[in-house]
């Protein structure tokens, strides 16, 4: 059956799902296709730390039987996905990328994986992560860092590095990452895919190794905005056992996807990348001319789709970024304090250095940061009282070489993603172009729980720009066997 549609791993999640529904594609063929690609390509990409070949094939056969018997569980039934290795999986090793948990086999599943499993998704494996979602790329860890699918000499960003690399290289249909300061949206940008950090409280974080309790978000990484909407539909909803989860109605996200966005008002934050990056972080954060041109072109595309754009000004980027980092380091150090004091040798170099800074922060520092956080939230809420959406930069240049990423880069370079962690707002990273054959991206953010809004604008932009049709050479079909 699969021959009629060619290589099924070239389909988007939505495309594969439609083919399965129409009987044109078997979940077994799709799963085998991804497993073949992992076997052929992951020795270079390093996106998986554990491949569940037998389990995935067994699940695919069960899915096929169920679907043929008329027991479809919906759009994700029979779709092979991956999980960042901080998502707990019952009976399946979950390491958080650390020697501390090298042999850890959880007794429970992450709630998000429960929801995806119940929706019929098939787990291909666990994917490489920076240690505890912060320490990487680190060549001293048990698992080698994932590489960028567009050029494996380059950095895929992190910490959801393995998931983004695997999605970009078509080694899974979609995956789950986590985002405390940009760990979904940064890798999405560098790997040329779509990454959504939903509103704080929209998705359960239960069963995912924490980094920073008040900043952690779970979210999907996909090749298209439509795929992202479909994943979110299965994931969203209240989890009474996650203290941050909010009981809000879940809309039909796919219905929000329209080719035009007439009447939508969008605030554009230019000063973060045009002024604040250099002023706050130094000349190394200067955006590339190609990035500025791509960002401006993307804004013009949004206007051509019917949106009304106007520039807005908020506090300097450094205020958002440093407040986010101070809170993250305080909470993360508290979480790992005992291990840091008693067995620091177990941590990788990057994890130790970055989180170790939390040892030197005081309770007053943390409270001041939380007071600053409230002010920044109010400022952002005020801006979103006047516009429907906000557009701002993501990484302002192409991915660097992986061997050029140092321990302190996360503090030295401007972070454009942190403002939406500190405010908890939904933010979507969408590709906007290329520089040196490596992807560029921007972000679309919205009011709390308006994921439909960011997906709507992201979808319209994606369809008009057509950048998603360009795939990395590594994503091409394998030679016929």
């Amino acid at each position: 059956m699969a021959q009629s549609i060619g290589d099924p791993t070239q389909l988007s999640l939505a495309g594969a799902s439609r083919a399965i529904t129409e009987g044109a594609l078997s979940p077994v063929a799709l799963t085998e296709g991804y497993l073949d690609r992992i076997a052929a390509l992951d020795g270079e990409l390093h996106s998986y730390v554990l491949v569940l070949t037998d389990e995935a094939l067994t699940a695919a056969m069960a899915a096929e039987a169920d679907i043929r018997a008329g027991r479809s569980r919906g759009k994700l039934h029979g779709i092979p996905i991956g999980l960042k290795d901080i998502y707990k999986t019952r009976g399946i090793r979950t390491t958080a990328g650390s020697r501390v948990y090298l042999d850890h086999v959880p007794e429970e599943d992450a709630e998000t994986w429960v929801r995806l499993h119940d929706a019929g998704a098939i787990l291909l494996g666990k994917q490489e992560t920076h240690e505890f979602a912060i320490g990487g790329p680190d060549f001293t860890l048990p698992f080698p860092p994932a590489r960028n699918p567009w050029n494996t000499e380059h950095y895929p960003a992190g910490s959801s590095s393995g998931t983004a690399a695997a999605v970009g290289a078509h080694l899974c249909a979609a995956g789950m990452g986590s985002d405390t300061g940009g760990s979904i949206r940064g890798p999405a940008a560098y790997c040329g895919i779509v990454g959504l950090k939903p509103t704080y409280g929209r998705l359960s974080r239960r069963g995912v190794f924490p980094l920073s309790y008040t900043l952690d978000h779970c979210g999907p990484l996909t090749r298209t905005v439509e795929d992202c909407a479909w994943m979110l539909q299965a994931l969203a909803g209240h989890d009474p056992k996650d203290p941050a989860s909010v009981d809000m109605p879940v809309p039909d996200y796919a219905r929000a996807l329209t080719p035009r966005i007439d009447g939508l008002s969008i605030g554009v934050i230019r000063h973060w990348h045009e002024e604040d990056a250099v002023a706050g972080f130094g000349p190394e954060s200067t955006p590339s001319p190609a990035y500025i041109a791509a960002f401006d072109a993307a804004c013009r595309t949004l206007e051509s789709l019917g949106a009304r754009l106007r520039d807005i000004r908020l506090s300097p980027l450094l205020d958002y970024a440093d407040t986010n980092r101070l809170i993250m380091l305080s909470e993360a150090f508290a979480l790992h304090e005992t291990d840091f004091r008693e067995r620091p040798h177990l941590f990788g170099r990057q994890m130790f250095a970055r989180i170790g800074l939390g040892a030197f922060l005081s309770a007053a520092d943390y409270v001041e940061a939380m007071r600053q956080r409230r002010e920044l939230c109010l400022e952002m809420a005020g801006a979103l009282g006047e516009v429907d959406l906000i557009v701002s930069a993501n990484y302002t240049g192409p991915a660097p070489r992986i061997d050029a990423v140092g321990t302190w880069g996360v503090f030295e370079r401007a972070s454009y993603t942190a403002p939406y962690n500190i405010t908890g707002l939904p933010a979507l990273s969408v590709p906007i172009g290329f520089e040196d054959a490596l992807p560029l991206a921007f972000q679309i953010a919205a009011r709390p729980f308006d994921e439909a809004g960011v997906l709507r604008a992201g979808f319209a932009f994606e369809q008009a720009a057509g950048i998603y049709r360009q795939q990395p050479p590594m994503a091409a079909s394998l030679p016929a066997r």
């Binding site: 203290p243 980092r325 004091r341 620091p344 250095a353 520092d365 939230c377 321990t407 503090f411």
Partner: protein
């Protein structure tokens, strides 16, 4: 970007924070010292008044407390 704090002062604050240089090792201990310049920047940033207005004493933090359900 400011310089990292002196080795002597770093040894003091590390001891106060309960970090043992013997367990950590000299190389990692020094790398941590290099990072203190970012700590000082963050401490300054979160105390900087937004929009030029000093933070009022009554300005509340972003609350994270919620009444848990049993």
């Amino acid at each position: 970007m400011s310089e990292p704090i002196s080795a002597e002062r770093f040894a003091y604050i590390a001891q106060r924070a309960g970090l043992d240089p013997e367990k950590i090792g000299a190389e990692r201990f020094e790398e941590l010292r290099q990072g203190t310049r970012f700590v000082e920047r963050m401490q300054r940033t979160v105390r900087r008044p937004l929009g030029g207005q000093p933070r009022e004493r009554a300005a509340e933090p972003a609350h994270i407390f919620v009444h848990p359900k049993a």
